[in-house]
Amino acid sequence: MSLLESTLLSVAPAAADIGTNSGSYAVVDGGVAAVGWLMVALPLLGAAVLLLGGRATDRWGPLLATVLSWSAFVVGVLVIVQMLGLAPEDRALQLPMWEWVAAGSFSLTAGLLMDPLSMAFVMLITFVGSLIHVYSLGYMEHDPDKRRFFAYLNLFVAAMLLLVLADSYMLLFVGWEGVGLASYLLIGFWNHNPAFASAANKAFIVNRVGDLGLITAMALMLATFGALDFATVHANASGASGTVLTLIGLALLLAATGKSAQFPLQSWLGDAMAGPTPVSALIHAATMVTAGVYLVARSQAIYDLTPDARLVVAVVGAITLLYGAIVGSAKDDIKKALAASTMSQIGYMMLAVGLGPIGYVYAIFHLLTHGFFKAGMFLGAGSVMHAMGDQVDMRRFGALSTKVKITWLTFAAGWLAIIGFPFTAGWFSKDHIIESAFTAPGWQGWVFGLVALLGAGITAFYMSRLFFMTFHGKARWTDDVHPHESPLTMTVPMMVLALGSLVLGAVLYPTGILTGWLDPVFGTAEHGEPLIPLLAIQVSVFVLMLLGAGLAWKMYAAGDVPQEAPHGSALTRAARRDLYQDDVNDTFFVGPTRTLARTAVETDRDLVQAGLTGGTTAGLTGLASYLRKAQNGFVRSYALTMLIGVVAILGAVWVMQ
């Protein structure tokens, strides 16, 4: 305790020098940004109307929710238009809303921060989110609880927007747990299935472990800076001691690992696939799970000052990107394979932010493109499930390319993007992360670079495996399925996302749109040369991609896929069980919690007994049994007790005087 305390209480020598740092943002003075809160309020209103309105809203509720989600998108676009009218360095608008908490010297105003980083997220969330609302109109059409589903979707969009728009860690936390709640509700949407209910609980509880990190980080910030708003904390970060900054960085990372399903808190994401597929696309692929990357990127001012914490971020990212890729190679459940892939891709983003200034832009870039291609593929998976009577086992798919042509083509776009086929969106974003990894200093460059490279190869393998097992090879369908294409409400969003998967990179990157837009937030990074020539990296990535895809073709399209999973190697078996993550968690956390709860209950029983019969109250128990017998006379007995008490007081007073 003393070490931490002394660190916390010691004022860093540099503090005085930076005392004049101004960390304030320009306050909004008009335009659409002045009503920027509408972005959060509109979908929130939708959730409230649908939940409180009851069955009366059954008919038009889902449509209302969809419209409100698009409205948030429109407000977002208008805010961006307004920001484009400002000089790049002035594009950070703060909108204070109300004084939320103040006590002593601590005070916090709830407010929004509209800057290039948050607005980039707003675009992703509202655009992909609204598309998925549209898709759900078709996907959930026959679900009796459709209205509740759309209420939760709107709640999610509102919470996610609050998460990225908040101007303080404390308000961010409202969105942070808000999306956790929406995720919990949607994973357990079909919680009449006990396994799905458990999956929902697991997601929330594992996320709470991560939230412990955010709470700790905020406690450290309050003790160090006396404030929790981005402006004050970030402007004064350089005044804090290195140890404190590293601790804050690690605590924030813990939060990020929970929300973004990164090692060691990744275990919930696979189970989260219990939720309806649009949820998997929106929450567990495109948006919520990337919140951890946002948190780290937003806290750039802190991570810039603590290379140690940053290194841990990169290591976590590197571990997860391999972990997810390995698990993804063994899964036969199409959604779980995609979930593992999400983990792995976010691992790339985490690695990128861990690399420091050079990586931030690419992390956000990959986050955006991933939001498109992964959401597109999830929607495609939903369409396939729709066609196959809600089956998810890829061993019973195959040869669907002819039956669901649109789904096949749109899925192909996502597949090409994720494996990094040249000039698709994923190629632009992922290659830059791999190249950046090779610029890290010393051994880090080799380790991170090679891991990222290897990951790209495995990605090509497992995604091609998924694609070929589903759409190519021989039909291995169960007897009762009659594949058919999905309605337009579902396929149009898939087409839009497919288009994005192909061209978003080319639109955003070579034109300089993205780097220019984010430049005021991240600045221009100085970086060293990669350890091996750029061209060599690019060629290696390309060759590995061909090898991975080719291997998958040979095994899963050209070759026969057994309908029952073969025994497999030790690694395959481990990967099927998510590399034993649940066994580890059960042994070290779930089991002990159960034991402690049982022990507590037993001990408490003893304590109650002791309280009734034991030691100090023995005499009173005698009285109790006497009183129990004399139920009718109890009032009298009580009065007597009081009387004795009064006499005792009088006596005591008399003696004292």
Binding site: G226, T232, G611
Partner: protein, 509 residues
């Protein structure tokens, strides 16, 4: 002379109890009259609040002091500061809600219904008294007197083991009360004595010997720890909560138990600063243990009411941690938590009560799939549960968070350990909800979902969750001066942030 607001608040419900009790045997007006009196009292309470000045530097406002037993220095002295005001208002808001919730608890046979609601109103009166008393002896009188209505509410109207539960409750409280009585007399003798010798203001800042201060401290603290309830003297609570009617439990756990933490602030910390410092490490340890043990007990419980009672043990642990952190943020958080916990507990107990009535069982294993049987009730339970696990945006979050970060300012490691509680809270709430509401729909005869009356119970509670979650500042404004005063008495100095941000104009400052 000023209007005697507090006496009015004290007398009105008592009068109501009398009226209700004297209504003719066959009267159908029992419940409306009881509700009317509780609402009238609430209205007076709200009117009184407008007379309360937040910026005042007086220790107590709206004071009324009359000599009662001058020979022994006892006065009838009432007065409030921010902490007592919020506690009284909490009680006044919850009483009508509980009366509506308890509407059908007792059939109109004989005079049972008369007694039931008269007792509730009597309890409301005692609640006002115990929080408004600024004479230590008068406080003691209310402290003991409020046991009487609770005892009968549990012992007469409770479940199968009601008598055992009521007796256990009474015995624990009496033991604590008697120990406190000795300390009450002791502190009087150590004070200036005289006709107003029991006034809190006359007993603050006494020059006590170290030993005397510590003995007196222990005397008061034991009583308050039992009431709060803290581990290991919490054991009366599970039985009482399990056997009592949910509405009784709300008033007992949600309001009356706050006398424990309120007493710690008002009497223990204020009157015995030296002893407080001496005992703080032990108290913090006990509070942390309460927090953890309460949570694990809740995880291991299958009785819904018992489970909720254990979550309260855990939450009281948080409150005590906040009080004994001796930081403004921690103290303000703890006192705000005392308000929030009242609403959270009300939500949990009352909604659980709706389910228990429908299923005829308190055992979680008898439920399952109820989200599909009674979606509104199950949803309300989830919302109350989310408040219990301190979801940001709902009431408990602000207070729990303030307690954690306020404690962290003083003792980083303790703050971190306390934060672990948020994980356990997620476990006990979600596991409860899972057992109760999820799974396949059970085969039951038609079970009605939430009735109109029940909506009137749930709506104000959920409204309170949201208002206190997003706009807690008015309450904090009321609480803070009282908290600062307590910190001054305790002689605690505020920990300064390590980095001087005064010159860096942060947006939030």
């Amino acid at each position: 002379m000023n209007f005697p607001w507090l006496t009015t608040l004290l007398v009105l419900p008592l009068l109501g109890a009398l009226v209700v009790a004297l209504l003719p045997r066959a009267s159908t007006a029992v419940r409306p009259v009881a509700l009317g009196f509780s609402l009238l009292t609430l209205a007076v309470g709200v009117a009184m609040t407008t007379q309360f000045r937040t910026g005042s530097d007086e220790p107590f406002q709206l004071t009324e002091t009359y000599s009662w037993i001058p020979q022994f220095g006892v006065s009838y002295a009432l007065g409030i500061d921010g902490i007592s005001l919020t506690m009284i208002l909490l009680g006044l808001v919850l009483v009508p809600i509980c009366i509506v919730a308890a509407w059908d608890d007792v059939p109109a046979v004989d005079r049972r219904q008369h007694t039931y609601f008269a007792l509730m109103l009597a309890l409301a009166s005692m609640m006002v008294g115990v929080f408004a008393a600024v004479d230590v002896f008068l406080f003691y009188v209310f402290f003991e007197a409020m046991l009487i209505p609770v005892f009968f509410l549990i012992g007469v109207f409770g479940g199968a083991r009601r008598w055992q539960a009521a007796t256990t409750f009474l015995l624990y409280s009496l033991v604590g009360g008697l120990v406190m009585l000795v300390a009450v007399i002791g502190v009087y003798l150590a004070g200036p004595r005289g006709p107003e010798g029991f006034l809190v203001t006359n007993l603050t800042g006494l020059d006590l010997s170290v030993a005397a201060g510590r003995w007196l401290f222990v005397g008061f603290f034991i009583a308050f720890a039992i009431k709060a309830p803290m581990w290991p003297v919490h054991t009366w609570l599970p039985l009482a909560a399990e056997q009592a009617r949910p509405a009784t439990s709300v008033l007992l756990v949600g309001v009356l138990d706050k006398v424990g933490t309120y007493g710690m602030i008002r009497f223990v910390v204020t009157m015995f600063p030296e002893a407080t410092q001496w005992a703080t490490p032990v108290i913090l340890a006990l509070a942390l243990v309460s927090m953890f043990v309460g949570a694990f007990l809740a995880i291991g419980s299958n009785d819904i009411l018992r489970l909720i009672a254990y979550t309260s043990v855990s939450h009281f642990g948080f409150i005590v941690l906040g009080i004994f952190a001796f930081t403004t943020v921690g103290g303000a958080g703890a006192t705000l938590y005392m308000v929030n916990h009242g609403f959270t507990t009300a939500g949990l107990f009352l909604v659980a009560g709706m389910l228990i009535v429908r299923r005829g069982s308190r055992d979680l294993r008898d439920f399952g799939g109820w989200q599909r049987v009674t979606p509104l009730i199950a949803g309300s339970l989830l919302v109350a549960g989310l408040s219990g696990l301190a979801l940001p945006g709902l009431n408990s979050f602000v207070s729990e968070f303030m307690v954690i970060i306020g404690l962290f300012q003083r003792h980083p490691w303790l703050g971190f350990l306390a934060a672990l509680g948020v994980i356990l809270a997620a476990v006990y709430i979600l596991v409860m909800y899972q057992k109760l509401a999820t799974g396949p729909r059970p085969q039951l005869a038609d079970v009605p979902d939430m009735t109109g009356r029940e909506k009137f119970v749930v709506a104000p509670i959920i409204a309170a969750f949201l208002i206190l979650g997003f706009f807690p500042q008015p309450v904090l404004d009321v609480l803070e001066p009282a908290v600062e005063q307590t910190l001054q008495h305790a002689g605690a100095s505020e920990p300064e942030p390590a980095v001087d941000t005064a010159n860096a104009e942060g947006s939030g400052r």
